[in-house]
Structures are given as C-alpha cells and as structure tokens.
Symmetry: C2
Subunit: 220 residues, 2 copies
C-alpha cells in the first residue's frame, strides 16, 4: 500500500472521473467478486455506457488491475495514513488495528475489506491480479510487523516476542472480525471481540494498557 | 455439521456414485468458487456428460446445496468425528483444532477449508446456498465453544474466561492459517503459527500444557 498519502498530487478532472469509476468498481468487487468485475457489469452498476468504459480500460484485466490500485489508494487514505501520524510505534500499531476495524464498520467497501475479499476469491488462481492482491496483503502484514519491531526497539513491547508470530495473531483477529461483520449483515460484536483480543494480546506482550478501543472508536 | 458419524448408514452403489460426483463438486468449488459450480463446468471437471448431471441434480442451486451437504459429510469424517472420540473436553478442543489444520495440510479440499472458501464468496448474497454455508460455520463455532464450556465445567479451563471470546480467538487463528496456506501454495508455517498461537492462548486460559501439536500432527 502507498504509505505516504501526504505526497499524493492533486488529480485533474479526468483523473477524478476515472477515480470515481474505479471507486465504484472497488465497491462492486467486494459485493460481486473481482472475477465478476467485467466492463459490462460495471457499466450497469455505475450507470455508464459499456463503450466508454471499454475506451478507458480496454480489457477486464486492465480494469481489475486499475481497481486494485484504486482500492490501495482508498485503503491508504482510510486506514494507513491516519494511523501513521506521529506517535510511538505501539500507538501506531493500535491505530492501524482500530482504523482497519473502523473502515469495515463504516462500510468504506460494502463487502468489507477489499483485499480480504479479493484474496479469498483468487487464492487458487494465477496471474497479475492475484499477484497484486497478495502483494497488498503482504505489505499490510509487513507494516504491522514493522510497528511491532519498532515498538520492541523502543521498549514498548517485550523484545522476546516473535514479531512475525504476533503480527499473524493480530491479523487473524482483524480478518475474522471483518468476515463475521460482513456475513452477519453488520453485527458489530465481532469487531469488539477483535478489539478485546488484540488489546489482551498486546498486554501479554508487555504493552502498557492503551486507551480503551471502545472510547477511541467514537472519536475516529 | 453432522457430529455423530458413527450412525451414518451404508451407501448403495447409486448413492456412492452420487457421492463421488459431489466430492468432485466440493473440490471444484474450493478452486473455482461455489458460484462457478454449474452443471456444464462440473461435467467438464468430472469427465461426465452434462445431461447425466442434469438428470441427477436438475438445477445449479440443487447441485450447490447437494455439494454443501457432501462437504459437511467430508468435514465431519475428516475433522469432527475423529476429534470427538472419548477424551476430556480440552483434549477434544485441541483435537478439533489439530484436525482442522491437518485437513487443510492434507488437501482434503484443494482450495483449503470448503466452508471458509464458500463463506467468503457468498457473504454478501442472499438465498439458501448462503444460509446453508453460514449455518455450517456457525455450527463449527458452536462446537468449539461447547468444548470450552465443558472444559470450564470440568476445571480444565479457567471459569472466568469468556467462552465465546475464546472460541472467536481460536477460530481466527485457524482461518488465517487456512487462507495463508492456500494463498502461499502450501507453505506450512502459517499452520504452525496457528498451533503456537492456540496453544499459548489455551495455556493463558488455564490449560495444562498439551502434547506439542508438532508431535501429535505426525500421528494423525
């Protein structure tokens, strides 16, 4: 994911139109699947002519790749960039988790996390679409792990913890919260279960108790 | 899921043929999606005529529902029934986790857990297929939770633990292991991360250390 959102340049009108189409495409893909993302079906969903989409994207794969790129931008804007504002690595780690859960709860994508949805769909396929999706998931896991390692260096987390293992456990809770939230049609209790599980796990790893996620959530 | 496998009656030849077709269908669905499971594509995958499949199942939805039922039977046979053989509730809980991870590792379904795959795909849809899939996932979570409650009653786990929360955390680790194993094309390290995470979590909940999963895995 593009981590440094502040350096993003301003978009021209044409770029804004394209981005609006791709935002619609990203939302559509979390409902109907990234394999269901054809020029014809997107045209119907976004209320556009198929020919104008064809001239903008050319092929289904091009459309899929552009949609993944746009989903990365959205994820960066909604989750990553706000969480990486100045703070300690442990604060950033907690903020990444909370921003992730809040982007699910706020229906940034109507079918939950774009990348979780796409990864589950194309996990057994081959090709560029799969590569880009798995690349984004790996970047996210690396980002969590980096905050853990930095927090260990600064003494906020126990240096004896296996950072990769801890990132795996945090990610597991985030992803189950996402999938249960979506499948239940918007029950928030799995999000709170993830919050409790992550906070308890971080404290087990030596973290000083954080602001309760419940309260922090209200202000994000 | 059908929990009591021992009461399953013997199948006739016709039923065995039908079961073989449906096993192929269940495997196919974890690769190409349960929405990709059409009579025509299954005929091609299983090397049969489309007309014979049509006479057996009639419609795509009928085929999907029969496939889910067969996947339940397979999951029961491979995961649930062996784990519920006599033992303490804590042993059964550990065995359920290990059998789940081992069924992923043994490629019982080539695209990983059938129900995780199907649930991610149809989470935003409506209808009977969705109901049956989410029902199976709920049954599995209830089964984990029941072992936890029973283990609490017998003093093997701390009575102060929230059983629903603990089942959620265990399930989170199992599902991330499943998805990372599939997406990596068979890297076993996520399975071991889940084993370590679950064992540590159970010990935090008061469990006496169990047989290391590594060793137990060899004998299952």
């Amino acid at each position: 994911m593009t981590v440094n959102g502040s350096e993003r340049r301003r978009r021209s009108d044409g770029e804004r139109t394209r981005a609006a189409i791709l935002e619609a495409a990203a939302r559509f893909a979390t409902l109907e699947g990234i394999e269901g993302l054809t020029l014809g079906r997107l045209a119907e969903y976004a209320g556009m002519s198929k020919s104008s989409l064809f001239s903008a994207f050319g092929s289904k794969e091009e459309l899929q790749l552009a949609t993944i790129e746009e989903a990365n931008e959205i994820f960066d804007r909604e989750v990553v960039a706000p969480a990486l504002e100045p703070g300690t690595p442990l604060e950033r780690l907690r903020a990444l988790c909370e921003r992730f859960l809040s982007h699910v709860e706020r229906y940034v994508f109507p079918g939950g996390c774009f990348f979780a949805s796409a990864a589950a769909e194309i996990d057994t396929r081959q090709g560029l679409v799969r590569e880009r999706v798995t690349g984004a998931v790996t970047d996210w896991l690396d980002l969590l792990e980096q905050q853990i390692r930095d927090a260990q260096k600064e003494g906020q987390l126990d240096a004896a913890e296996d950072a990769t293992q801890l990132a795996f456990e945090v990610q597991a809770l985030l992803l189950l919260a996402n999938s249960q939230f979506v499948i239940s049609g918007g029950d928030a209790s799995p999000l709170d279960r993830a919050r409790r599980g992550i906070e308890r796990r971080l404290e087990l790893a030596g973290a000083a108790p954080g602001t309760p996620y419940q309260r922090r959530r209200r202000s994000t």
